[in-house]
Symmetry: C2
């Protein structure tokens, strides 16, 4: 696709190169991280992310909706993911005491252990395949760029966004 008579503002050659490089690189990266987690710990990346959020919450538990918002997945998707994790004994469901519609997902001890085992694999991957490869300032720029996108797209509200301010 290059310029035609229509009103569309196409990407410049440079922008297009960046965009495609991003698509390619992130595809490969996510693919690899997923593969490493799955082979060594039997977890998918989304599953891992869920466990992380739970582990960081007070009481290691979170309402389904908050969980969904924090990873920006659909509720339905989180339901399915949690169902799998529950079947694996890594998470437990409870009815929310303050709202009987609600469900809170809680990390089990076994889930916590699995997470602790898996974390080094994941972190090593993120470092080895990304962070340690690049200039620190460039990496910071990535943060600013995707913060902007995340915020502009925010499905519902910007709540879940880790604040990126220059302190």
């Amino acid at each position: 696709m290059t310029s035609t008579g229509t009103g569309t503002r196409w990407l410049t050659a440079g922008q297009q190169r960046v965009w495609r490089t991003f698509l390619l690189g992130s595809t490969r990266l996510l693919d690899r991280l997923e593969r490493e987690l799955r082979e060594r710990h039997g977890l998918s990346l989304p599953e891992y992310e869920i466990l992380v959020r739970l582990s960081e919450s007070a009481g290691r538990q979170l309402r389904m909706a908050e969980l969904a918002a924090s990873v920006s997945h659909s509720r339905s998707r989180v339901t399915h993911t949690v169902t799998r994790l529950e079947a694996a004994g890594l998470v437990r469901r409870t009815v929310c005491p303050t709202d009987r519609r609600g469900v809170v997902a809680e990390l089990t001890d076994e889930g916590y252990i699995r997470l602790v085992e898996a974390a080094p694999t994941h972190v090593d991957g993120v470092r080895g395949h990304l962070v340690d490869l690049v200039d620190a300032d460039d990496f910071e720029a990535v943060g600013r760029v995707f913060a902007a996108a995340a915020q502009q797209l925010d499905p519902g509200c910007a709540a879940a966004l880790p604040r990126i301010t220059r302190e």
Copy 2:
């Protein structure tokens, strides 16, 4: 996950923030681009990408393996995607004349038309949800970062990588 006694080099708080912002932002972004393409043109993002590669190739055709490499998807995945596109009449398969094992996928006229229709939607999305939101230098940095990752991860070879050289 924060520092423990083990040898793992954890991410700094800042690095972690960037990494999570990237995950969140790219999830939302890809999600949105996919949704826009699908609603308005009945195409998924991977399907769209395939059509783009074909449209840019000599004769609007490409061997399956090259197609797979160019988008960094598994061969199997490309087989399935092309099967769908073929069923939709957007792509046609032919046996490769020079290697009877080979299959070349060719963009049909209808496929080309659909692509031309869809392209503005996609480009507007990439601009509106990303490029136009951010500092040009930051965006360039994104290119460098993911080029590094893509190259380090390259499944097979770096061939498909759009060259990012400062001219």
